[in-house]
Symmetry: C4
Subunit: 237 residues, 4 copies
């Protein structure tokens, strides 16, 4: 069996989003890439999390050709692959329909940075894509979902903004490996929940200062990180 | 004992809505039909889920005559039966007072299609019935609850819209068998929760495009379904 | 030890509100009365639910004199006793700070009957008391909490309305015995949750029709009840 | 190993905020002080709660010098220490990003006293600090977080108001020992949840009367406390 270690990591990331309450039934999927071989391991489509095993993961190349696996890959595989082809620094991708992040995605609004919990993980808004045009929906829908994300990231750094809301759909998150991608998906959901309530308390609420945004982001990330013990530095990316 | 297999399926559907947090105490009920014999198995009224066994299910014919069983059937049995008589393609019916779907039913508003999670299961609004007239409440209330659903479905396909909100009351969902009906009830609740929050984030929010609605519905249903492994195709109906 | 059976019932009612998520730490208390002897068993003040035993219940007479028990009774005992003295048909009282009912009590608003879940248990609004006057707070506060409830029930039947919101405080519920009181407290919380969300979906929402209110209440209560199996009839009161 | 008893208490307070659902992953931290020696025990930074042991707690003096411990202390240690230096009656400090309290902190609004649950623990508003100025963020950020709290408490008694919302960040709570600090953090979260919903039900809602505020606070605190059994009196502070 190919890539046993990557398979385990991808399995773990899938189980983590389930443990953290981000998935209903078989919704959601996590993948990881082995950059050396250019091969991707991804959750099979529609298999219950309780039965998921490392050997069920489907191995594809970066063009979507199945290299190993008897099951169909997640129906969102084309979106994952385009993200891997376009963001060379990422090693894992997670897609969920988690409750609060999906509510923001459906509302078609970016999540403003209302506080330090957000600033610790996302350096600025959690962006929302444009809605897909009718012709983008009608053919190559999953690939076009990836393209609409890329259009939104034209001027954004996917390391400083490790996730996005697809308008009318749901969030995607990523990270340096599958575990970091799952971690960012969990945080994105938590941030979405806090922001939902903050806005209801104060509908006129604006963003935190740029200084606070920078401070918190850098406290957890980059060369001067002061959070955690040494081996965890910059864990989320 | 008659219909042992159907009894097990109906028991499972009842336990599934409880496991997924859709019921408080003895609220909610699931039923299933054996189309060959025209017999229906339904949860008995007011029996705690923890004690429910396959042999407790009550067997009635399509007119409500009890054919086998010592317990009273669910007080909503007449509504279930009218749905079976009117929608020949359905094989299971589920009624709950689940939190978010019931809140929309009480609000007397249909749930607009705000995103793909909705579009995957319901092809358009989750409709709401008219309120029952006073005389419809005073006699044959449960039967009239079914009739007010049928009035709402005059121009709707119960396969593409596998559930409804009864105004001032709560949701009913159905599917090709009891398990699919329970699955659709769980999804209806999840969709209601997402829609509730999306509307609070953006009170002016409109529906997704017709193209997205069609795409997602067809990705999970019908001849060109691309979701899941082969044996699950079109599972929810 | 006096009244061992009543002690067990009161213990069970206290544990039930904890199991159903209505209490944080030691908040909340349930009591029951033995009408023959006029003695009341009530939870002791501030004892963790995990350690609560039947023998910890405090027995008082209807004037609050401790007849048996080494612990202090719940600090709300005077409110319970006034309810027992004034509502001769009730056999149990439950007080909680449950999340949604308390939010309505704090908001100082009655819970309108928005649907059948409500109508099944409360025949009309769940009423809210007036705020206590300063002098009612300063002395005999707990007794005056009971008095402000009685003022609100001058024209209400405590059997058809088995609970109340004390303005700026929290709910009290009651029933024919401690178990029914706990059941009504759990339902009051569920109804409060549904109503909170229904109102947010539709801020202009009005009540259901009088016919629906009557129908649902009578389906579960009184001589023509059609819900449940025989032995449960009129269980909630 | 120094201060084994304090280490256990601090461990317990950290585990308590996790048990009560106030923390996601490694968020949050609790500390305690031994006033005799002036030494503080605090949670290490970024260690999962499941693996946390009493010997992992980091011992520092009041100036932040690590006296015992191989791990880095919580990145918020400077805030904790300033609180201990400034509030001589407190023995424990807890910081969380708990859901509802953080939403109010992000909204930049104090939590008004809407009811007795609040009045039992906080004698008045739960205050919110000013946002930190840019230069306060850029250097000595954690110390300045403490300073902005102290500015807010110039005219407040930290015993009657055992917690605060740091604007755009999250809550801090304290108490006479680590256990009381954790207890107050849990209550702050519960109060924040009730207040969120009360305000959505009634956006014009004002505070409870001064008489009710005084009564409830004094029922649980101070020489005339009537809540609980003797050994628990004034437990929360």
């Amino acid at each position: 069996m190919m890539l046993p270690e990557l398979r385990e990591k991808v399995l773990d990331a899938n189980l983590e989003i389930q443990r953290q309450g981000l998935v209903l039934y078989t919704f959601g999927n996590a993948s990881g890439i082995d950059r050396k071989s250019g091969l991707v391991a991804i959750k099979p489509s529609g298999v219950p999390y309780e039965r998921l095993k490392a050997e069920d993961m489907v191995i594809t190349d970066l063009d979507g050709k199945i290299v190993e696996g008897k099951l169909n890959p997640s129906s969102d595989v084309e979106t994952h692959l385009l993200l891997y082809r376009s963001f060379p620094t990422i090693g894992g991708v997670v897609h969920t329909h988690s409750e609060f992040a999906t509510s923001w995605a459906q509302a078609g609004q970016p999540i403003p940075c209302f506080g330090t919990t957000h600033a610790d993980y996302f350096r600025g808004d959690i962006p929302v894509t444009d809605p897909l045009a009718d012709e983008e929906i009608e053919s190559d829908y999953e690939l076009n979902t990836g393209k609409v994300i890329l259009r939104r990231f034209k001027d954004l750094d996917p390391v400083a903004t490790p996730g996005v809301l697809v308008s009318g759909h749901a969030p995607f998150a990523w990270g340096k490996d599958p575990s970091a991608a799952a971690h960012n998906a969990v945080l994105l959901e938590y941030i979405a929940k806090l922001a939902f309530r903050s806005r209801l308390i104060n509908p006129q609420l604006g963003e935190v200062s740029a200084a606070l945004l920078r401070k918190h982001y850098e406290r957890k990330h980059g060369p001067k990180a002061t959070y955690g013990q040494r081996e965890q530095e910059a864990k989320a990316f």
